[in-house]
Point group: C2
Chain length 333, copies 2
DNA sequence: CCGCCTTATGCAAGCGCTAACACAGGGCCG
DNA sequence: CGGCCCTGTGTTAGCGCTTGCATAAGGCGG
């Protein structure tokens, strides 16, 4: 109330108050067990009394550990990553790691920018959905940061990769739909390597399983609810009409169901729909949406495990963790 | 390829390479205009040659400016804040500010924790949806951080508040529905002060406008799509049946529309629905959703303006910026 | 009861950068 | 043509913390 302290309270202030050296206070904060119980007591009281708040920039500089992790994703709105990211951010917070969040949007340039920013902050790890261009990949390799690419399993990840094979997703959807007797699939794809892999997997397997034509449509990234109107309108002009639409996200799938119903079609009888991501809406939609579930929490856990391992001094090899996926058959297809 | 540099390259390395002092390199990086063009040239080349990446922890420590802003929100999944947050993060990035993201969930304790973490990082500003408990409010007031509370306009914000009056939202919805001739509103509220204010505003104004009973239901935070099944099921047992449902989010509104339609009801004729947030889905739903639009981008801009002002040395007074809201009448009510 | 090991703490040297201050040199005005 | 100001750069003292090393007590086996 009265006078604002000219200077922020520092470790030294606490140390003086507790009548110990600042080194001991530092130890108490970072590793309480190494200080004697009675000393700990005094320090604790001193911290309370002074209202001390550590300065992590100073601490980070001295220890060259930032206790911060960069999480880089394309979007927030209608993003199929949201469940994974939420799990990630929560897990990280629980581990005492703060999250520097970057939205990379569509431009690879932004991804590179955000990575430079993360590197400037000397983050302990970068978690990104990638993919990276060659220059950025080289930059990441040169730096000591732990780079974790999630949601995809590239051949030669710059660091650790935790994800699944998108091509296999496409393949499994093709098998599933073939087995269910669908014959004229229409696949809606967004540009972006992961979506493309799923598409390729689908097309290849469909050729094997059934062999008829696979029609396609393209939407912009991110694949969202609002795209459904146009996709459905286009689809109505097609002859023969598709009997099932394979979507790049549950949001789009939901939109298509709504459009189809508004047009008087019964889903799945007259038009079936498959989503992707098992987003929160998928199980509650009418009809419930057949989709592919990714264990986002598992991805988050694996990522955190790697970060901890690294933090403990072990080296995390550039490798690949396949968390798989699960096709969930519901009512919409 | 050959030997990893034992030590990271620093300003001094660049300085040596460019044959200037490190101070000049620092100037070049932070304020290129003050160094002579020829020197700038040399430094630029030296930076490229050495692959220098600044250390913002060191810079921040020295300048006591972190160039980082904390953004604290309850959730990511199905969050009505997402549009605002996305705008915010993008605007911040464009201003060269990095974002430390915190998910506060439902517990006030977590909010306090995240604020401490942000303070430890000496962030330039904290943007939070609040509200804060008294202790945390005091903590924030004591610290030199710029605290920006968004989405709400409390009486005595600890810093700057940018938002709108939720009570007025409730009031305006009541007027709108009364004018449209609805008579038996059912309002679905989540715990949380903002939702409560909207509810109170609605109930108070409804009493003035029409006067009949307002029935209510409660859902958990966040107000999401999946809640619709239960809300709708409960609503079917009510006698007299409501003719309009006022929802806490567009996602819930969407869910209710779907449930109603699945039960054979026509929306809005047999049951009308009002949402909140003007989320991306609202305009594309069938029927399109009557909702309340918040100019998230505007909130983001105002917040960034305050941060810049503060950064320029001016003091940002604890005050309130009302960005208002806009009721968008669409098809669902 | 003494040397040795363990445990708890202090000392001091940085971590990599910024910014206040000093200063050199050149242009320009009177 | 001398003094003054402006521009550009160097010098230096930190910013607040961590950590390796040194040191002071105790504990304990022989």
């Amino acid at each position: 109330m009265s006078q604002a302290p000219a200077r922020n309270t520092t470790l030294d202030d606490v140390a003086a108050h507790a009548e110990v050296s600042s080194a001991t206070v530092s130890r108490y904060i970072n590793n309480p067990d190494v200080v004697a119980p009675r000393t700990a007591e005094r320090i604790k009281a001193a911290i309370e009394a002074t209202g001390y708040i550590p300065n992590l920039m100073a601490g980070g500089l001295a220890s060259s550990k930032s206790r911060m992790v960069a999480v880089l994703i394309p979007h927030l709105v209608d993003s199929i990553f949201n469940d994974t990211i939420e799990a990630m951010v929560n897990e990280l917070a629980a581990s005492g790691l703060n999250v520097m969040m970057g939205l990379t949007g569509l431009l690879p340039r932004r991804e590179a920018e955000m990575i430079r920013a993360a590197l400037s902050r000397r983050v302990d790890a970068i978690i990104s959905t990638g993919p990276l261009d060659e220059e950025t990949k080289a930059l990441v390799r040169r730096s000591p940061v732990l780079f974790i690419q999630v949601w995809d399993l590239p051949e030669h990840p710059p660091g650790l990769a935790i994800g699944f094979h998108h091509r296999d997703v496409g393949r499994d959807i093709a098998r599933f739909l073939a087995a269910r007797g669908y014959r004229r699939p229409h696949i809606v794809t967004a540009p972006g390597s992961r979506a493309m892999q799923r598409r390729d997997g689908f097309v290849a397997e469909w050729a094997v399983q059934v062999g008829g034509p696979v029609t396609e449509a393209t939407v912009s990234i991110p694949t969202r609810f609002g795209h459904a109107r146009k996709v459905f309108a286009d689809l109505r002009h097609m002859d023969p009409a598709p009997d099932v639409v394979v979507c790049g996200s549950d949001y789009l799938a939901q939109g298509l169901i709504i459009e189809a119903q508004a047009a008087g079609l019964r889903v799945p009888d007259q038009l079936a729909v498959v989503g992707f991501g098992n987003s929160s809406i998928a199980g509650d939609m009418r009809p419930t949406i057949t989709t592919v579930d990714i264990d986002g929490a598992r991805i988050a856990r694996e990522a955190i495990a790697a970060i901890r391992q690294r933090d403990a001094g072990e080296t995390v090899p550039a490798s690949v963790i396949d968390v798989g996926f699960r096709l969930i058959a519901r009512e919409s297809a």
